[in-house]
């Protein structure tokens, strides 16, 4: 029963973030720009993904001083990332009072076999996925929100689209199966049959389904929302662009009004330089963040 209450509170906060934009920020000043532009939450980072990519080496949880400065600067929820499987970093983030933890492939994984047991925490977790099986494994571990991985720091939406389509078509397929097929399907997906059964019944994931990894323009945000994302994470796309405040506002408007194409056209005008994108094939396999985790 205690667990049922805990997960209700965790999913509850994810519900409150729907229809919004969550922005990566590295300073209190950027956090303020994001909040003023209408972000529903910020992700407090030491480096945005594009810089993590450029910098190389082991990427870890941010310096708590950065997280605290950002918490002080804004009234919206503050999220932060821990490495995959690094439950001690997660414990630190919980102690800091972050509102959501992203167990993220953007950082260098700490455990090659296991993700964090998210049920043990009071703070909710969001995890990335490339397909339905991965999403359901994370939900089984206690994630209260799922996001597509996309390819962070690439400025290229193609991977986010691939992952969102994979999740959505996986869900559609489940709804067509007979109950006798579910155990076999759970085996194929590598996910517990209870969660598989729940998805078949609901026709959607039991937690909110957001999108991340490669969003750089208002049209990218509209695209992901139309493909079934309920909120959009924007990482490098804002603060690696020519006019972050203007682009941030434009992406917020395009996410809310994603079916109003006149509006998306209007807010897309004169945004200045977008972040420079990378073709996925040009990223060496070892540097592709989406492949981290299982």
């Amino acid at each position: 029963m205690q667990d049922a209450k805990a997960i209700k509170l965790k999913i509850g906060l994810a519900e409150m973030l729907k229809g919004g934009v969550i922005m990566d920020v590295t300073t209190a000043e950027q956090a303020k720009i994001a909040e003023d532009a209408g972000a529903v939450a910020v992700m407090a980072l030491e480096r945005i993904p594009a810089d993590i990519r450029a910098y190389g080496g082991v990427a870890r949880m941010s310096d708590p001083a950065i997280i605290k400065a950002i918490q002080k600067a804004v009234s919206i929820p503050v999220m932060a990332k821990c490495r995959i499987g690094h439950f001690a970093e997660a414990q630190v983030l919980e102690a800091l009072g972050v509102d959501f933890i992203d167990e993220s492939e953007v950082l260098t994984p700490a455990d090659e076999a296991y993700h964090v047991n998210k049920w043990e925490f009071k703070v909710p977790f969001v995890c990335g996925c490339r397909n339905l099986g991965e999403a359901l494994r994370r939900i089984a571990e206690g994630a209260a929100m799922i996001r597509t991985k996309g390819e962070a720091g690439s400025g290229n939406i193609v991977e986010a689209v691939r992952h969102m389509r994979a999740v959505q078509s996986g869900i559609k397929r489940l709804t067509t199966l007979g109950d006798e097929e579910l155990v076999g399907e759970a085996k194929n997906l590598g996910a517990p049959v209870e969660v598989v059964r729940q998805v078949k019944k609901l026709g959607k994931l039991p937690v909110p389904n957001f999108s991340a990894g490669g969003v750089a323009t208002p049209a990218d945000a509209s695209l992901m929302m139309q493909l079934g994302a309920e909120t959009v994470f924007v990482g490098s796309g804002i603060f690696k662009s020519g006019d972050p405040a203007k682009r941030a506002k434009a992406i917020v408007s395009a996410t809310t009004h994603y079916m109003d194409f006149d509006l998306v056209a209007r807010v897309s005008e004169g945004l200045g330089e977008a972040m420079v994108g990378i073709e996925i094939e040009k990223i060496p396999a070892a540097d592709r963040m989406a492949e981290r985790g299982w």
Binding site: M16, V98, T256
Partner: protein, 193 residues
């Protein structure tokens, strides 16, 4: 046949819409002034109040919602409660001034301080229990003379009404309880006849 509008700029509008479906009531998601004009009442959901203010103002919905609330029922939950309040304490934040209450944002703390607890509700003369879900919730710190308190958590007022307006700091839409939504529907029905 009434139509309940649910402000869908941002927040947990889905859950409110599911509630309306459970009660077999027609609802529509509202993102524009034109859509709002087709509704008999409006629910402003939980979400982030700064984001909602931003989007309402940017796309000229701010005045439409305020005008709507002068004549038709509005129910604000959590962020919605902050939006319709008369004033926000300790913060420089604009509001729609639809109900004479003062609200404190994030009054209980951060997400780790979010909680579920029994609350007391008095909707039709009797005091009943209800599950109260509080997520980064605000507090109603004071109410005007014309405002009636309808629910309490310990000594805190968590639901209040003034004429057509209903303001709550918690989330009945995240529970199986339909009593508060039902009460709001009755308000809409009464306002029409």
């Amino acid at each position: 046949m009434i139509t309940v509008g649910i402000l869908a700029l941002q927040g947990d509008f889905d859950r409110h819409q599911q509630k309306m479906a459970t009660l077999s009531v027609k609802s529509r998601l509202v993102r524009t002034a034109v859509q709002l004009a087709q509704c008999d009442g409006l629910i402003i959901p939980g979400g982030e109040s700064t984001t909602l203010i931003n989007l309402l103002k940017k796309h000229t919905m701010w005045d439409s919602v305020r005008r709507f609330g002068k004549t038709k029922p509005v129910y604000g939950t959590c962020a919605g409660c902050i939006l319709i309040a008369d004033s926000i304490v300790e913060m420089d934040q604009d509001s729609l001034h639809l109900i004479d209450i003062s609200v404190q944002r994030n009054a209980y703390g951060r997400q780790v301080d979010s909680f579920i607890d029994d609350v007391k509700v008095q909707l039709n003369g009797t005091l009943d229990s209800m599950e109260g879900v509080f997520i980064r919730a605000p507090k109603i710190v004071s109410i005007g003379a014309n405002v009636t308190p309808l629910a309490w958590h310990n000594d805190d007022i968590i639901l209040a009404e003034q004429a057509n307006i209903l303001a709550g700091t918690f989330h009945p839409e995240l529970t199986d309880d339909v009593r508060i939504h039902h009460y709001f529907l009755r308000k809409i029905q009464k306002s029409m006849y």
